[in-house]
């Protein structure tokens, strides 16, 4: 059950569904996320034993079992995503299982949030933000890359894709920059019917006051 005391970084944003139906945006809040650093050759079995997911070793790929996925971030670095509430136990169990050198397990569930982008024009929206090749021949289901959207680091993960549902992208972004990225994505979707999203702003700023004075 969701703890009402928690608040997600994009709690102030309502999901967007473009009138055309070709683009939808929604926050996927509170997903458990852990950074796992280990040696694939030595530790894959241990990781799989705890998570139930086979450790993907091909660059920029992911593996999923049930509701858990492992996203390849680097030769010795993965992000484990799992349903809300699993992070603490997974952190404890993985730390116990990964006893060798050059390992690390860290809960980063609240560091990042996920913006799920769906709809037939999802690729076109992302192409306005990131420079990577998103064509289905080069970016198929399960692919995950770390990249930049303007000044923001993010992970782009094609969690699912089917003829019926189209692509399901999860964009994993720092909480503090989520509002900026949300608005950029909506802006990129304008041509496909997304409403404009005004970024958070209008705060009283120190410099602005000094300018007046």
């Amino acid at each position: 059950m969701l703890d009402p005391r928690r608040r997600s970084p994009l709690a102030h944003r309502m999901p967007i569904r473009a009138a055309s139906g070709a683009v939808s945006l929604a926050e996927w809040p509170f997903l458990s996320k852990l950074i796992v650093r280990c040696q694939a050759g030595r530790d894959a079995t241990a990781v799989e034993a705890v998570t139930g997911v086979a450790l993907p070793t091909t660059a920029c790929t992911s593996a999923t079992a049930g509701e858990r996925s492992l996203l390849w971030l680097g030769p010795d670095e993965w992000m484990l995503v799992a349903p809300d509430g699993e992070a603490a136990a997974l952190e404890t169990d993985l730390r116990a299982a990964l006893t060798g050198p050059h390992t690390q397990v860290v809960d980063v569930s609240d560091y990042y949030t996920v913006i799920t982008l769906t709809g037939a024009r999802g690729r076109d929206v992302l192409a306005r933000l990131v420079t990577i090749d998103l064509h289905p021949r080069h970016f198929a289901k399960g692919r995950v890359v770390g990249t930049l959207a303007g000044a923001v680091n993010l992970l782009v993960w094609l969690r699912d894709e089917s003829d019926a549902a189209g692509p399901v992208f999860d964009v994993i972004v720092r909480a503090s920059m989520a509002d900026h990225v949300w608005c950029l994505m909506a802006e990129a979707g304008r041509a496909f019917g997304c409403p404009a999203q005004e970024p958070r702003g209008g705060e009283r700023l120190r410099g602005a006051l000094e300018d007046v004075a």
Partner: protein, 1038 residues
């Protein structure tokens, strides 16, 4: 009233056309305008069922849908649209495309939407479009700046460099005058309300240019299944085919039918993108080509789709590129070659065939190749009288002269134009026969005309090829540079490769498209070559000589936008600027907004001629991105205004806004600076917040501090190497402050690191240093110490941080914590413990940045907004007060704690900070250690951090003010001892306090120094003290 300027010598008309003396009624004007006396009866790609009315300098003009401003004005007899940059001479339309040098207009009158320097040849007309002439005051017809033309001999090349030389300081005066005279159009005054966007696109084959070669290339590539992008700069695909003889047949189809069929074929492919009104403006490394798509500049603003951006920047990363960018026709050099009404022969054909407009009713044609004959015959067939073909060659190519004579066109062989006349439009040309040396010999003959078509040969459009760093090769046969050695994965096809025959262009395009797709890993076979029936005369044997009559004959212009003449170029060579790059800059040839697309090769020819060199020996200037001026909007894309850059906010942001916070930026973060109450100034608020943190409880949102999770058996070794102090004995449950140095021994960052377990640490960094410190540590770990069993992961935003400080904090903590006794006796300073608040796990740290009793609560960020409000509510009975970064700065200054980046500036060692105790001598090496023993770093008279107390406790020093030794400020240069780094009024001490760096400051305790005042005045006397003002107060010293 007539818009026609075909009666150029009539002054009264000149005044009428500028609108200063209106003829009665707009109706008359409209009727006159709708006549379009130069419009052909039929033909062209325009839609004659859709008349379009727009205005030029406020007067109505009529054209048709499909017209450009240039074609509509010419249809109405107007060639004179602008004035030159320097001499303000009348300028007309030379070409029909984006290469036009001087036909620049201002589009729109709206303060935010107006666009200067728009080529009349590119702006499509729409109802209500407002077009204005530029660089003319008070009007186009009567322009004061034309005085520059009268005094032209006093404005030679290098005029700026020769005139605005000295005396020293006078540039400040010159600059104002030059700035006022510089520039052509008016910049918009208000922010741009339009939207722009960037699109990243990947493809196997990018084809630049939608002419016959480009269309063939795109078709051939698309048939292999490759992803293809085809971009075309103008509104329609077809390129030169749109200007071709309609009798031409390709596989039995007319040009228009063939284009339509090709486009339909291309659109049937899923992975083919066709972009019209899209200019490939930049060819960059790794086969990235940027395209500039104009989506709505051709539409009535009310018709523009609000969902679409005005313009797009396509960043195309192509495996292979086919350049089919066509060729640009060069004008000829002769005295008076800059008058309106002089157009290139190819432009005359484009206006006739594509837009259904004759550039004149009596057209003279000057040429140095056979293409001039082709133009003359076709213009005649289109309905114009051809005054004569003036061919500087003794003989034309096979069949050319015969075709002209069969069409009843007179030809003057071996002759050239020696002068022209006509103020607002060419009216007469004077022709003389040429002698063997190229000089005029025969008697002058004057011919009346209302337009002059010039054919100086075609230059392949190699701009993008050159931007890709490809090497050019000079082709003697066509007298132009063609693509030579390629550097990137591109190939040129058609006219841009020097191939002008239509059949050959189609074949070459198809071959290039297929080869590109094959090179990108796709498979396919060549189709059969189309059968072509085309009667066009190609350039044939071109006479590349620059035929230049005697200098006295009048000015011959090279660059008609920047007003550079042949004489200017020759003078540049004479004065030593013989290199093409020097001559360009000295004379400004090709430095206008057109970058000399049509005229540069003529400039190179003049330079070669003056130095008796061959053209290839002179070389070319550098072709740089962008191909043509690109809007700032399309460069910025969506990253403008509120989308400009991320403004990072903490989970407490909304609460802070609701509670009146004023924010300051710290890196990308917005941090609450202070929380003024109604009626309170920010300064008063900071004093109140500081007092609360000293006397009751203050709470700071410290979530933005950088945090790094460190795990591994060698974590202590790692910390020993990156911090100056020792970490071997820090027990689990304990925290320690550390200073981080760079290799030079200078303080780079600081923060508290906590031992969670023997192989697990939690490091904090400054807010601004978070990213760079992590990168720095990773760099060392991966490149210098890969053997260490240490792994780092940023956890900055995983934990939100509330920093609580003040004497009543232990009581509040006791009320909050489920399972931890916060008593400072049992939970001492620099310790941490895990605990719970209402069952939510937290980490509590007994660390302080205020010098008072402090607790920092770290909680998973998703609970932090709730926890913040819970603490505020629980703390209310204790007088809890949220404080911002300014009070934080004040509180830490009272305690003498440094802020890296404020009290340090990259030149301060720990010893300079008088934090010698932070530097462990016992442990092994650490980053920066060796530099601390460098003679200069080890000097004892370096600037050192000290406290300053003013004699007058009410005086608050200015941060940055200089510290000097004398009571009076001596004459400059003032011997400076140091400067004030931090300065505040301390409510705790009831007086001002300051930190400063002072030469040998550690040895100057209790010395009286002086601090300068900004703007002068008697320096302020101060006493040097230790930095811990709280201790000074306790000891009764302050």
């Amino acid at each position: 009233m007539t818009l026609s300027d075909s009666a150029p010598e009539d002054r009264s008309l000149a005044f009428r056309t500028d609108g200063s003396a209106h003829e009665p009624g707009d109706r008359t004007a409209l009727r006159a305008a709708s006549r379009q006396p130069y419009r052909r009866a039929s033909g062209g790609r325009i839609d004659r069922s859709k008349p379009v009315h727009f205005t030029f300098d406020g007067k109505p003009v009529s054209g048709y849908a499909g017209d450009t401003v240039a074609s509509a004005l010419i249809a109405n007899g107007v060639h004179f649209v602008a004035r030159g940059f320097k001499y303000h001479r009348p300028r007309g339309i030379l070409t029909a495309g984006s290469d036009d040098p001087a036909g620049l207009v201002q589009v729109g009158s709206h303060d935010a939407l107006t666009d200067p320097n728009t080529r009349a040849t590119e702006q499509e007309i729409y109802p209500g479009l407002e077009v204005f002439s530029q660089n003319a005051w008070p009007s186009l017809a009567f322009d004061v700046g034309v005085l520059n033309d009268v005094f032209h001999r006093f404005l030679p090349s290098g005029f700026y460099y020769k005139t605005f030389m000295g005396p020293p300081g006078s540039w400040m005066g010159f600059e104002k005058i030059i700035r006022a005279a510089a520039g052509l159009g008016r910049a918009p005054k208000a922010p741009d309300p339009d939207r722009y966007e960037h699109v990243n696109h990947h493809c196997e084959v990018l084809v630049v240019g939608g002419g016959p070669a480009g269309l063939s290339a795109a078709l051939a590539a698309a048939r292999t299944g490759a992803r293809v992008v085809l971009c075309e700069e103008t509104a329609e695909l077809g390129g030169w085919l749109l200007s071709a003889d309609p009798a031409t047949r390709i596989d039995g189809l007319s040009p228009a039918e063939w284009i339509a069929a090709a486009e339909a074929d291309l659109r049937a492919f899923d992975d083919v993108h066709i972009l019209t009104r899209t200019c490939a403006y930049g060819y960059y490394a790794e086969n990235q080509v940027n395209l500039w798509e104009k989506l709505s500049d051709h539409q009535l603003p009310a018709d523009r789709d609000p969902a679409l951006p005005r313009q797009r920047n396509w960043r195309v990363r192509a495996r292979e590129v086919v350049l089919a960018t066509g060729a640009l026709e060069r004008p000829l050099l002769f005295p008076g070659n800059d008058r309106p009404g002089i157009v290139t022969a190819s432009a005359a054909l484009t206006f006739a065939e594509r837009y259904g407009v004759l550039v004149g009713h009596r057209i003279a044609v000057a040429t140095n190749n056979d293409a001039g004959y082709d133009a003359a015959c076709r213009l005649k067939a289109a309905g114009a009288d051809i005054v004569s073909v003036i061919d500087q060659r003794e003989a034309a190519g096979i069949g050319a002269a015969e075709r002209a004579s069969a069409a009843g066109i007179s030809v003057r062989h071996g002759a050239a134009i020696v002068s022209t006349s006509g103020r607002k439009r060419i009216a007469r040309i004077t022709v003389r026969a040429l002698g063997a040396d190229g000089g005029p010999t025969g008697s002058p003959e004057t011919l009346a005309c209302d337009a002059l078509a010039v054919a100086g040969g075609y230059s392949p459009n190699v701009a993008l090829f050159s931007q890709s760093r490809g090497q050019l090769r000079y082709d003697e046969a066509i007298g132009a540079f063609v693509p030579g050695h390629s550097v990137q994965r591109e190939r040129s096809a058609g006219a841009s490769a020097g191939t002008f025959d239509l059949g050959a262009c189609l074949a070459e395009g198809a071959k290039a498209g297929l080869e590109a797709a094959l090179a990108a890993g796709f498979a396919g076979e060549a189709g059969s070559a189309p059968s072509v029936e085309d009667s066009a005369l190609l350039a044939g044997r071109l006479d590349p000589r620059v035929v230049l009559p005697a200098a006295r004959a009048g000015r011959t212009f090279i660059d008609v936008q920047n007003d550079v003449t042949v004489k200017d170029l020759r003078l540049a060579v004479q004065e030593g600027y013989s290199s093409v790059e020097h001559a360009k800059r000295y004379t400004t040839t090709g430095m206008g907004t057109d970058q000399g697309k049509t005229v540069n090769i003529n400039a190179f020819a003049v330079l070669a001629d003056k130095q008796a060199l061959k053209l290839p020996a002179v070389g070319t200037t550098t072709f740089r991105q962008p191909y043509k001026p690109v809007t700032f909007g399309v460069m910025a894309g969506a990253h403008t205004g509120a989308h400009f850059q991320p403004r990072r906010t903490t989970p407490m942001h909304d609460w802070q806004v609701a509670n009146g916070a004023i924010f300051e930026t710290s890196g990308d973060w917005l941090r609450a600076w202070t929380y003024p109450r109604p009626g309170e100034t920010p300064e008063e608020a900071v004093q109140r917040e500081t007092r609360a943190a000293r006397e009751a409880i203050g709470m700071l949102d410290a979530s933005t501090l950088g945090k790094i999770d460190i795990q591994g058996a060698d974590a202590r070794t790692f910390l020993n190497r990156v911090y100056t102090n020792a970490w071997s004995k820090l027990a689990p449950g304990r925290c320690r402050y550390g200073l981080m140095l760079n290799e030079d021994g200078m303080v780079m960052d600081d923060g508290v690191t906590t031992c969670i377990a023997d192989d697990h640490f939690h490091m904090t960094t400054t807010t601004g240093g978070a990213a760079s410190v992590l990168a720095w540590l990773e760099d060392y770990l991966q490149t210098e110490w890969p053997d260490l069993d240490v792994r780092l992961t940023t956890v900055t935003e995983q934990w939100a941080v509330a920093s609580l400080s003040g004497p009543k904090t232990p009581e509040l903590m006791a009320a909050l914590l489920d399972d931890l006794d916060p008593d400072p006796e049992s939970f001492p300073f620099m310790a941490w413990k895990p605990a719970h608040i209402d069952g939510v796990p937290v980490r509590v740290f007994r660390i302080s940045f205020t010098g008072g009793v402090s607790y920092e609560i770290n909680v998973a960020a998703s609970y932090s907004a709730w926890l913040w409000e819970k603490i505020m509510a629980a703390g209310a009975p204790f007088g809890i007060t949220p404080y911002g970064t300014e009070a934080m700065h004040l509180l830490r200054a009272e305690a003498g704690f440094i802020i890296v980046g404020q009290d340090t500036d990259g030149t301060m060692t720990p010893i300079d900070l008088r934090m010698d105790k932070m530097v462990s001598q016992a442990k092994g090496d650490f980053i920066g250690k060796r530099s601390l023993s460098r003679p200069d770093t080890a000097r004892t008279d370096r600037r050192q951090l000290v406290g300053l107390l003013t004699d007058d406790p009410a005086t608050v020093l200015v941060e940055g003010a200089h510290v000097i030794a004398t009571a009076e400020e001596p004459a400059p240069p003032v011997p400076m001892l140091g400067h004030v780094t931090s300065s505040y009024f301390s409510p705790t001490l009831g007086r001002s306090i300051a930190l400063a760096v002072v030469k040998g400051g550690g040895g100057r305790m209790d010395e009286t120094l002086h601090v300068t005042r900004p703007g002068g005045g008697t320096p302020i006397p101060v006493t040097v003290t230790e930095v811990d003002f709280l201790s000074l107060k306790d000891a009764g010293h302050a």
